[in-house]
Symmetry: C3
Subunit: 321 residues, 3 copies
């Protein structure tokens, strides 16, 4: 593993999950591993769970983490090659990332898509430029395309709460009030399918996800059919992918109800990556009931991040300026 930005293999994922579970029992067992090493954590977007779980994971490993909140602590970044920088951006990503490469041993980056330019978003151009110009091993803290640390924590949570070898996992679209990125949904599909899990995805017409991520999943436009006998229901909104970033009107009611689950999937656990819009994406009765795993998912963000950082720390670092 040189970087942690996407699903790589079933074997690697199994070893990360195994290590994460060890850290959950003994968080301080490798507290010397990061000594004298530095993690630069770049936030181009807000964060609560990601920021704090990464910080805790780094502390457990004795790794120094420095946060950089771009355009607030620092300078607004120009991302275009060859740009004539005569507008509002004070620094080019070449220099910003280049300097980070000179200052840190690892980089972690949160960079949401703009949901306007599909090609730029899906190519992860911002993440890739940070990697290219810093020349550092990089951890994605959610990029335009994926949210791998979330997916790993999701898999860990499923593994902890599953009573079956091959549980039925359903990813269902949910309503929202604004256009939301596809990263969590795509990433969840990529990781569960990569692990050969039984995944069903359900969404309204117009909200189909990218084939690149969903190949192998059962797809349904009928939420009730999809959730029947589900063991885990991952609830999440995303905007349209084909008509990129749009939010076509949905006539049916996609807000899941406890009564539906009692009828169709009485054993089902409810998952969400948070933050969640209560009573828009997910009803109070589900979030506050016994089915909800959302705080378990959030807690596991610490130990999966720690497993990823530890794995990177055990590898030889790149040579710097």
């Amino acid at each position: 593993m040189k970087n942690f930005t996407r699903f790589e293999s079933k074997g690697l994922t199994e070893s990360l999950l195994k290590l994460a579970k060890i850290y959950k029992r003994e968080p301080w067992r490798d507290h010397e591993l990061g000594k004298g090493r530095r993690l630069g954590a770049v936030f181009l977007n807000p964060s609560l769970r990601t920021r704090n779980s990464l910080q805790i994971a780094a502390d457990h490993l004795g790794l120094s983490m420095q946060e950089m909140n771009m355009s607030r602590d620092s300078w607004a970044l120009e991302m275009s090659e060859g740009a004539i920088m005569n507008a509002d951006k004070a620094e080019h990503i070449r220099e910003a990332a280049g300097v980070m490469g000179a200052y840190f041993d690892f980089l972690a980056i949160r960079c949401f898509p703009n949901l306007v330019d599909k090609e730029a978003d899906q190519s992860d151009d911002v993440l890739k430029q940070f990697q290219k110009y810093s020349k550092l091993p990089t951890v994605s803290l959610e990029s335009a395309s994926r949210h791998p640390l979330q997916s790993l924590a999701d898999l860990m949570t499923i593994s902890e709460h599953s009573k079956k070898d091959q549980p039925k996992v359903v990813l269902t679209w949910a309503p929202h009030v604004k256009a939301i990125p596809h990263a969590v949904a795509h990433s969840f599909a990529e990781w569960t399918l990569g692990m050969d899990m039984d995944l069903t995805i359900t969404q309204p017409k117009g909200y189909e996800l990218s084939d690149e991520f969903t190949q192998g999943a059962k797809i349904s436009y009928n939420q009730e059919e999809a959730i029947a006998d589900a063991d885990f229901v991952y609830v999440k909104n995303w905007s349209a992918f084909q008509e990129y970033g749009h939010t076509p009107k949905v006539d049916e009611d996609w807000l899941l109800k406890e009564s539906q689950l009692q009828k169709l999937a009485p054993e089902a656990k409810i998952m969400h990556c948070l933050p969640v819009r209560r009573n828009v994406e997910l009803a109070d009765e589900l979030l506050d009931g016994d089915r909800s795993l959302v705080l378990h998912q959030a807690k596991n963000r610490i130990f999966t991040a720690q497993a990823v950082l530890a794995t990177l720390l055990k590898q030889p670092t790149s040579i710097k300026v």
Copy 2:
């Protein structure tokens, strides 16, 4: 002491003050006490002294502190139960505080009142929701109703500078240019009266504080009468409490002068919690003169915070997710 959000007892306060004075002499004596424990510090409002003194106190105890500046680093929080979150708030306090409960051992929270909804403010609903959903021991860094860490530092400062067993303490209203919360004034009254001190409160008509906090104090509408023979004069603005958050016009001049003190209370020391509006709340001649204890109060914020954190650390922690 499960939480530190208000005055509890004379005995507890005496032991906190005793411990704070020990830490002032030997700040590092308990530097192993917080090892492996985490304090989440939530700021919904700006802070200089509170933020830095808490950080220093935590460092002295080897306690890891993580700052969360809500709506800037993280997401804007919805506080209403049952809300349909279809507006601008991206996360509910149930999830935000729930996640903090999964990540930290203690919580510290700064949440100013809005000065519009008196009932909500005075019930400390924001603070209480953080406590309820995090299930963590909580330290108030100034809530709508109180500023207990400030009051404890104020008592420590009075104790260090008092030449009498029972000094005369006066809390006087001072002018300001905008509506200011009641927390510092109410809290100062609660703590001094709780310690059976001789407290006089003086303010213009319309600016009476809440009976809940001032019962036992002498109340006067005449500043000169009130400050006569004072040993400590705590100067502070607050908005109207009855006509909640309003700022009725005051005709007399309430800006204290050195000449008045020379005549009426030549021994008086001047106190203020800071930040202070110079020459609006308090004149340069008083802030810059020998009477001023304001930097001593600020310095003592470190050691009183340290005494509070140490006392919490010595108690069994709550079980978490």
Copy 3:
């Protein structure tokens, strides 16, 4: 050295450079030096390199650093003596700096000029008030007049890349899209001339720097003449100094080209303090070519800051409140 805010002497600079080079090889050799000491780092302006290099330098020395982002984390500061604070500023620098004096052992301050009031800017009134009211040893992280940590890193970079005892150093004005402070240019002149280096400064009519800093340098209005046979070309924009903060129109093309260097100064290395406006101040072909030392300058910010902090730490500290 009581403070580090300007060039003091050739001897001190030589010893700082020597120490910085030692730290570059062995960053952790003095990791106990700062133990139990605290650095308050005040940012009134954005920062990437300065913030991160200072943090890394402090970590290497075991020195605790606390950042204060004024007007964001904390309160907007009033800077005028005797002000009646009835407008938008909530705290006076007397109290803010006074409290810092009670909380920290050292202060580091970034405070850009406003480019409106020349006298106030050039007297470094903001920096001096922080020094005066904190009573702490102070490090400038770029003030209105100077950027001494940058200049020290620049000298270190020249020293590492020079093939001659007395290289020809050129400071050239470059275009920009807005009014830029003089601190980097003035400081670079002050330090290179203080070290008896061969310095040529070139700029268009109207952009002459202050005599106070440039005395001893060769001055030219012809960029091509100036750069002939240069070993190091420091490229930087600044606004007019006489017609303070203005940006008179420049008709000639001052954007340096690789073809010019090949013809006039084939051995020349290119320097810039960053952030740089690509293709406005400095062309891609130069920034991305072998001549560029900009990432070396940025990297050396760590070790020069460390040398400065270590030198301050080795001296007796001031007595505090």
